[in-house]
């Protein structure tokens, strides 16, 4: 059984889980606008925890992407080095 056959559905499952998590941490539900339509009530920035969550999601996604790209880069570099003379 090819490992990719388990891995791909598993990772897609993880992706959905992350999405559900992101949805449940939806900041717009937590930020309560005032009941009467105000003239200019000011800016309601989401609480620190929500912003931190967003930051962590962003860092994990960007960091993971960077790590994987680095792996690809190393592989491409060794290949290029191997073919280096002919390139």
């Amino acid at each position: 059984m090819k490992p990719s056959r388990i891995l791909i559905p598993l990772l897609l499952l993880v992706a959905s889980a992350v999405r559900l998590l992101a949805q449940s941490a939806d900041t717009s539900a937590r930020v309560q606008p005032s009941p009467e339509p105000p003239v200019t009530p000011g800016i309601l920035i989401p609480i620190f925890e929500d912003r931190l969550f967003m930051l962590l999601v962003g860092l994990i996604l960007a960091g993971g992407m960077a790590l994987l790209l680095n792996k690809k880069r190393k592989k491409a570099d060794t290949e290029a080095l191997r073919d280096g003379i002919t390139k």
């Binding site: 990719s4 791909i8 897609l12 992350v18 009941p35 339509p37 993971g64 992407m65 994987l68 592989k75």
Partner: protein, 152 residues
């Protein structure tokens, strides 16, 4: 440079490439989630008024009408020849065009878009309009015409 061969001999799939593809999907999903949530129009708190003062009595002479907004909806307030005030939501029940008060001939409401006509009780008389105009409660208080929603 290694080119992937045709269907005849597929090279073994590179694990890292596959992982990268999956991670790409993982990244795109929250991004799409954010964008789709963002572009969906948010439900805004709209304060609804129960009644409004349309105009002073003398601003709506007999056999004329006035169109104003009532909680963002256009309404038409009519002063009939018999001295009564009537009010309806002004959107034609066909496709939503705002009707006008027609005084040539029998006083009635006419919709310019497709020719629907309503009598002064709101009942749809002719044209493609399927249902009558929804009425509103009208009263006169302190020489002003007040309109309120029926439920109030």
């Amino acid at each position: 440079m290694q080119q992937s061969a045709g269907p005849a001999n597929k090279p073994r799939r590179d694990f890292v490439s596959m992982l990268l593809g999956v991670w790409g999907v993982l990244t795109v999903v929250p991004f799409l989630n954010i964008v789709l949530r963002y572009v969906t129009p948010p439900k805004l708190n709209v304060v609804t008024k129960e009644s409004i003062r349309v105009a002073a009595v003398e601003d709506i002479p007999p056999n004329s009408a006035k169109i104003v907004r009532f909680n963002k909806e256009p309404i038409i307030v009519v002063h009939t020849t018999s001295g009564q005030y009537k009010a309806f939501f002004a959107r034609c029940t066909h496709l939503g065009c705002v009707v006008k008060f027609e005084t040539e001939g029998t006083p009635r409401f006419h919709c310019n878009c497709h020719g629907s006509e309503f009598d002064l009780t709101g009942r749809n008389l002719s044209g493609p309009a399927p249902t009558p105009l929804r009425p509103l409660k009208v009263s006169v208080q302190e020489a002003a015409v007040i309109v309120s929603s029926i439920e109030a």
